[in-house]
Symmetry: D2
Subunit: 398 residues, 4 copies
């Protein structure tokens, strides 16, 4: 007998739970892609995306996943031979760096490990040392989905300013947009990439690239940008077909329209507050459990923890065993540990992650935590008392 046969909860850090309103909006006959409702709807989506990104500048939508958005953003401002600096706080910092290498960039990575986050002084130092300003762009991952470290993007901006360095500041908000506060213009970010399947609550398939005028200038000076990645006409199309460099992602647009409506109805500040409180509930539970057992939050410093994803350490093989148990016995699928393997744990079986991004409420998070506690009991991992009570207390305070 299994206790999982009900509505399953996918608590991995993306794709997130797609709201039924979004799925419903996507369940429709294909529309005309040359004129009519789809065209008008797309024109309305763009300003709403900008509002969520905190920018008054440019928003573009690509049919592609997050990796596609990474390559799109890079392709517009980094030419073969250009140099980029990547202060990395997890697997996805390295991933973006690899995409930069893939387009021929010279890449310098500063490895900040997977638990501590960036040391901005060191970033500033490296930038200051680049006196000939060979570094064309600094690539910062706002929330690294593997480590769940959240980087202070204002701090990174300040590091550039301190060093007096003219490089573009590029941010990856794939795991954070619509979850953790992000204000592109106010924080001095020049280019930002995101995707549909996390805080924006739409199935995978869309990438977004936002850019300001400084980045647009850099683009104009590029020797060549491939047509699919070129953001120029996507941001300012002469006709609808250019929005997407060809056929529009019809059904995803209907879903996105609905998701943006939902965010608007709740209010972006309320969305941020909800994510913050749910994250605190998770932290409270894990910290209590950790008093009497091996489970630990990956990130010790509260201010560096994401509100959308939480990476955990529990020791091999408990991470994998726990994930199996909650999926097959309780109906909760947890995220695998990513980029966390060590010599002792080559497969990363001692790690796992909670996704808590987008369409997530107190019931879902509390149920997940209680399922994890049941799982620890079932697989024989000790834990300290009061975890769920502490989480429920956070929820009760709201």
């Amino acid at each position: 007998m299994s206790l999982a046969n009900g509505r399953p909860y996918l608590a991995i850090p993306g794709p997130s739970v797609t709201p039924e309103r979004v799925l419903r909006a996507m369940h429709r006959s294909s529309p005309n892609i040359y004129e009519g409702d789809l065209v008008e709807m797309t024109h309305g989506i763009v300003p709403d995306l900008k509002a969520i990104a905190g920018t008054e500048h440019n928003a573009t939508i690509y049919i592609g996943n997050g990796h596609g958005a990474w390559e799109a953003a890079l392709s517009n401002v980094v030419a073969p031979g250009d140099k980029v600096l990547v202060p990395a706080t997890g697997r996805f910092g390295y991933g973006w760096a690899e995409m930069a290498e893939g387009i021929g960039a010279e890449v310098e990575v500063i490895d900040f490990g997977v638990q501590d986050g960036m040391d901005m002084a060191r970033v500033a130092e490296v930038l200051a040392a680049d006196t000939r300003h060979k570094i064309k762009a600094v690539l910062g991952v706002h929330v690294d989905t593997s480590s769940s470290i959240r980087t202070d993007m204002r701090g990174l901006r300040k590091a550039l300013d301190t060093a007096g360095h003219p490089a573009l500041l590029m941010a990856d908000c794939i795991a954070s947009l619509g979850c953790d506060r992000f204000e592109m213009d106010a924080w001095g970010v020049d280019v930002m990439v995101a995707a549909s399947q996390k805080g924006l609550m739409v199935p995978p398939g869309l990438g977004f690239v936002f850019f300001n005028d400084k980045a647009a200038d850099v683009r104009r000076a590029m020797p060549r940008v491939s047509r699919y990645w070129d953001w120029t006409h996507r941001a300012n199309p002469d006709f609808f077909y250019q929005f997407f460099c060809g056929t529009a992602p019809t059904h995803h647009l209907f879903g996105l329209r609905t998701a943006l409506d939902m965010i608007h109805e709740e209010g972006l500040e309320a969305v941020y507050a909800r994510h913050a409180t749910l994250a605190e509930a998770i932290w409270a539970a894990v910290e209590a459990w950790g008093q009497g057992g091996p489970i630990r939050l990956n990130v010790a410093e509260r201010g560096k923890r994401s509100h959308a994803v939480t990476s955990l350490r529990i020791g091999a093989p408990h991470g994998t065993a726990l994930r199996r148990w909650t999926e097959h016995e309780a109906g909760v699928t947890l995220g695998i540990g990513l980029g966390m393997s060590t010599e002792d744990d080559p497969k990363g079986d001692g790690f796992f992650r909670f996704g808590h991004m987008g369409h997530v409420n107190a019931h879902m998070v509390l149920g997940m935590l209680a399922s994890v506690q049941a799982g620890m009991t079932a697989i024989g991992v000790p834990f300290g008392p009061g975890g769920i009570d502490a989480a429920a207390e956070v929820i009760a305070q709201g």
Copy 2:
């Protein structure tokens, strides 16, 4: 800010959570109702319904809700002036009695209150006193959705047998079919009614009436049965149109086919065991909470508690306040107290119910319990410690 903006969980005692497979199966163009797939599918549904009811006899499907099924069943065996006995354990016993009055029956109710369940000796006594066998049918509600009392239907059968009374035994399994074990033939039940929207996981709209040969004989002796309620051709149609006395409930049938497949895939015994364990988890939490506060299970005796619905007492106005809080702050909609009003609490604000029937898993139940605990904290109702831990412990044991 609300923490409810995620996937809402409707934890009322029906309609239950419709599985997305079922909803998907219902999202389709209308089929031909005279020939083709729908006809074949319906012929396959009937034996599967019988298997879940534990009968080798007759199954009929009505377009109607549970009240419709009540009236359908009665209409086939109870004529105006006939007498029925209703040993009532809650609001729904009275409801069925009222339907019997509505068709002109003389109704005798034995009121067993809303907490204690039936005293079979007393039922036997009443039957024995009916020496002229004027009572044509005994109407027993297997699980009364209002009180959450589960009645021992074998015990009720035994009461008839003890009294040597020939009345039909009719069971209402609306809230229990596919949740709490029920074996129509083995337990000597002659007529049973159920509906689609609880353990069978399909939206409201279908009622079911099962009957054995003894009941069929009673039907044949009836002076007249209205055509819509007449079960004769529904159980043995000469042509498809008679299955439903007219147009078939096309989309509900597609949903029902899928729901029956899901029950079959899990296995009926596993379904029962899942419901039993989830119910125990709920009881464990509430009993712990009750050590330090006003919350109580409505039914003290474990063996008389439903595995599908749990009625609770917390004192006015806490029941209503708690329901409001969990719905608006945590995303869980609890059931209202029904049939529980008292002089001190005319609106029943001191009561509420958990539905845990059908498509429900450990995550959903644990999340609901933790949300309730958060709610008690938020609205200032004291409770004893260890409730969620106790529930998680039950889940861990499986």
Copy 3:
């Protein structure tokens, strides 16, 4: 190879084509049935139903099919032993008569065959002969789905008035509501029944009963009405649960809300005009074909033809052969002949029907007609020239 593998078109006279907006509205988690959106929505549905029925009086919604609505309506005003008069124009007149017999009424049928429609003088004559006013109700089918005869309900009203007969006039608008103009109050109809799956474009599962004050008075004088069928509380519920005598048909209500919105957006007059023009296109095609072959409209007199369904004669076995061909080779499912069997054609293989009710446009009808013409060619049935051209001409004139 088949040419049917595309989007199939079900052109039977009900269930009609469910709009994808309606299906989408129905694809959702179950709502609370005690409070919230569903309750408000239902209160809004009732006046919209009345508007379509052309009445300012009472509307009730039953979980049930058309047969259920028939029995519901009868049960409120016809007691066992009461007499009803049924001037029948097809199978469904007989069907309603049988339902009346089923509840114990004395039924007098005037059989007007299946092609000619009612002779109102004869109806008036029969009524006038009932000098003691034993006839309590006259049951008229507005559009008989089998014969596709449309009855002049004002004419029927006049027949009662001419005879000075106080019987209730009850109308079956199951196949006509939302297709053929019907004005309950203006036309002096006292009770009207309809269902969800034809002009109202929702899957089967809901029946509707409308009634005026005169009928309400008759109801009040009834010795007893069974609770499920009783319209009293359904029309004026003290609380939401009474609207449906138990659990609400949640998903159908969401679908119905959307269907009513669609009718409102188009405008009821425009809906009637669309049905009228599409029907004329069909008639034009068949009349042209009939100049050179056996196909005939069942109803010769234009004013007696339904705008929602068309019954055809083509001679056995061509009707069945044609239906098979269009379904398997062209993707169009036509309706079977119903109630049209003769001695020479015991199975009715020489008849078939077109449904053109509800969500139907010029493309669908023209494609159906051209598919039928292809089918006649394929199975070797001769036909006169210019059928499709004539239909297209009607469409072009709009």
Copy 4:
């Protein structure tokens, strides 16, 4: 009053009509993207795609539209400075050429106009003149969606062989795959690109690139290929994440799986035959109309006409007027003329297109043709008699 208010038919050349089975398959909660059903399903999709493409070599799936697939294919075998030859038969030949320019290729276009198709002798001539084999790839559009010209890809292969030229032969089958016969290996095509939203019946969002060993060798010799476009790991992933260079297109994969099942159930040969017959029906109608009016098939030579899309000439402003009429009055949306503007008709108002690709049957096509005839009548464009009859005759012959 409009006659369009029914199920609308989008008869543009892509996106095509998405089958409701496909939409239903896509309406689901997001799955785990690291393990489980999605992983297994994707492994099963790849061989099925190869079978439809007629290749035993490599298939890759990109999140992207057709333009993305164009760029993906080019990026793997064409480096900046390489030369490609594009014998163009319509707008999409030019479109692919522009994508090649966008990645830095030197592009030579042979313009064959928009009506006549390729002169293979001339292609062979150009290739033969390239004695130093600077041309690295020949880009041929199998069916140009703008002109509806179908190119004989075996003929193009033969042109390369005749010239003894080693260039890669690359085919664009975006508008033809699953509609017009295509056999990649047998016909000697080295690289082929396709997309999801036409013959494959899935919403826009997926592009496909197929390649053989010769192309793989060219890839290996490339100086660099960007990571998103690189087909190497997509074709032979070490782990699931590499299939899509990041997050999988979860919902599109569920849709694609169902669409491939549907093609398999019907049989690929039957799918081709269906498209061929439906195209012939269209041609028959237009040719008859053209005897008495200005409407003409764009492609005179039968063997050069696509079976999936038909481009038409009717003279400005009739094309646009006709499209408006059929959309607003009959419920059929026709495709705009694309790449057909002339000096006299700068907006292309004299042209339009029929899409008849994928999920399309006789009913849909016949209804479209009859709607077009009604439209010509309504807007006052003359036409010859017998068009629909001729189309129905083709359908009747099957």
